[in-house]
Symmetry: C2
Subunit: 341 residues, 2 copies
């Protein structure tokens, strides 16, 4: 009888161990595309600290604000920013309705494929082209143009829709943070209206939690008596570099406790987040993986990472080594699709 009870107890303990082990595995598997190691541990340890009720670093849910850069942090920014690719394609599509562009720089050079003449227009020429694709229409018409473009455009290397080129480990991180009471925001140099078209579907981040650059808009009562917002050519705010803390202050109104970026354009956002009291997490995606994505940092024209990388080393910020820390980069590598998250 005693032995039967003991056996029962043993079996019971074994079942209990299985259940406990099963649970433990399920818990660490909230970040399955992250390899085990110091980076993953830094993330989970931080979340454990700030969510431990009664602990010294506990942060109430309302103050668990997490901000993420977009280009190069949540999705691929090479060989050119996606919004730049959109802008140039849109100018081509709009050319038929703008016969005057044939005589007008930088449109003339661009439409004729004259690279030397376009280069002579400099960066300002490029900005003029992109601005044309982002103004002179209603906000609704603009959103439609972005959605239509995304549906047909393909990345030159991966031959997939751009919104499938989101980083699977970062999708898991966003979901993990939200499951732990964080409110996740995008804080990007990209256009706020460009991102909102697809951010909810791609990242689970609603329009009101997307912070970005923006131009002026003008309220008008249209010919059909319906009010519209017209997008003007005037850029009002660039949410990049030192602009990011201003954008965070303006849109969110409180200091994040977690910030993730990948370039010097995120440096001040990381500094601003780090300067608050209490526990903080500062993360940088370091592009070290030419095989699966791209490898670039200090010398890159797009996503240059130099000063922020130095400060990360000095201050012990978490630098994600893409090649080493990420088991998977894109969901499509394993047959899934990153766009349906």
């Amino acid at each position: 009888m005693v032995s039967l009870i003991r056996r029962g107890l043993t079996i019971g303990l074994a079942v209990l161990a299985l259940v406990v082990t099963g649970r433990a595995v399920a818990q660490t598997d909230t970040l399955p595309s992250w390899n085990d190691g110091a980076t993953k541990t830094a993330i989970t340890a931080f979340v454990a600290r700030v969510t431990k009720d009664g602990g010294p670093d506990f942060v109430p849910p309302a103050e668990r604000i997490a901000v993420f850069d977009n280009d190069g942090t949540l999705w691929c920014e090479q060989p050119v920013y996606v919004q730049l690719a959109f802008g140039l394609d849109r100018v081509r599509a709009m050319a038929a309705a703008h016969p005057e562009w044939k005589q007008q720089q930088p449109f003339k050079a661009f439409l004729a494929g004259d690279k030397d003449a376009l280069a002579a227009q400099g960066e300002k020429g490029l900005l003029t082209l992109v601005a044309a694709a982002h103004s002179g229409m209603t906000t609704d018409a603009y959103a439609t143009s972005v959605a239509d473009w995304l549906a047909q455009a393909r990345h030159p290397r991966f031959h997939r829709p751009y919104n499938e080129l989101v980083y699977q480990p970062m999708l898991e991180l966003l979901a993990y943070l939200r499951a732990n009471g964080f409110k996740t925001f995008i804080v990007s140099g990209g256009g706020v209206e460009f991102m909102r078209v697809w951010a909810a579907k791609a990242y689970g981040i609603p329009p009101e939690q997307v912070v970005g650059s923006y131009g002026a808009t003008q309220f008008k009562i249209g010919a059909d008596s319906r009010p519209v917002l017209m997008k003007l050519a005037k850029v009002e705010f660039i949410d990049d570099g030192p602009g990011k803390p201003s954008g965070i202050n303006r849109f969110i109104g409180r200091r994040p406790i977690l910030a993730f970026g990948n370039s010097d354009g995120d440096h001040q956002m990381l500094q601003w987040t780090a300067a608050g009291p209490g526990a903080r997490f500062l993360g940088i995606v370091h592009h070290t993986d030419a095989a699966r994505e791209y490898a670039y940092d200090r010398q890159s024209k797009i996503g240059k990472l130099d000063k922020a990388l130095d400060e990360a080393a000095q201050r012990g910020w978490t630098v994600v080594d893409m090649a080493k820390d990420w088991k998977t980069v894109f969901a499509f590598e394993r047959g899934g699709t990153g766009a349906s998250q």
Copy 2:
């Protein structure tokens, strides 16, 4: 025996009736400071329509965006906007640190109490005074100055802290909407940083759901190597009148399904909200109660309500008659406090 059973049944039914009645009362009591009538019914009928799963007007929770003007809609804006009272008090408090103001208009006239000289400076003079109270300091120092002022300033008529002059029926409406899955936002001509200091406590609306006017800020690394945001004197955006739809588009990124205002400064926000597809609720607080609050509309310098009142009549928007529709205006009328909501 049968009579005993009958009596038992009767008592049982009576208890059941009590329970049922109690429940029914509890349900309609989500808006206890609103008198029964067409206005209250319009609100509850709209909420019932858009929350009825499977109904023709159902709106998913993520799209239940409700926007509220602040001054005159959620709290008292008479005899002057609260932020103006703050600005003028601040200039007085800052004067000792600015000896140059004694020789400089409009400060000289204001500090000397010279009303004629101040009037000669016009509206621009007033704006200059208020701008001085809102710039030349860090965002943290500014927030502290607002909190300190609110703690000691008193309304000239009601002799209470300004953040107790919030409308009890509107607090109930905000809570009722949130209980029905709405996300509530402030969209005000007031300064976004001014409102965020007290809006969470007063209305249960977190900083990231406050949209307002704002000035430029500049990121700087301070003398102690800590980053700060300096508030500059440059006004970047006025979130009023035709600016409100732009502010909604910029900060929220989707069209509200419910909007509440009280003046012509809210007219375009109401039009913009009304122009979306599906069920919409447009509300105007009409100040008709000189006894408990104030009575003003078409001729008022503050909170002028003229064109929006005409359009409300034409289009069947809901106009709240404060004297008739509100059982209570301020929580303190019944011995409570409005500031602890």
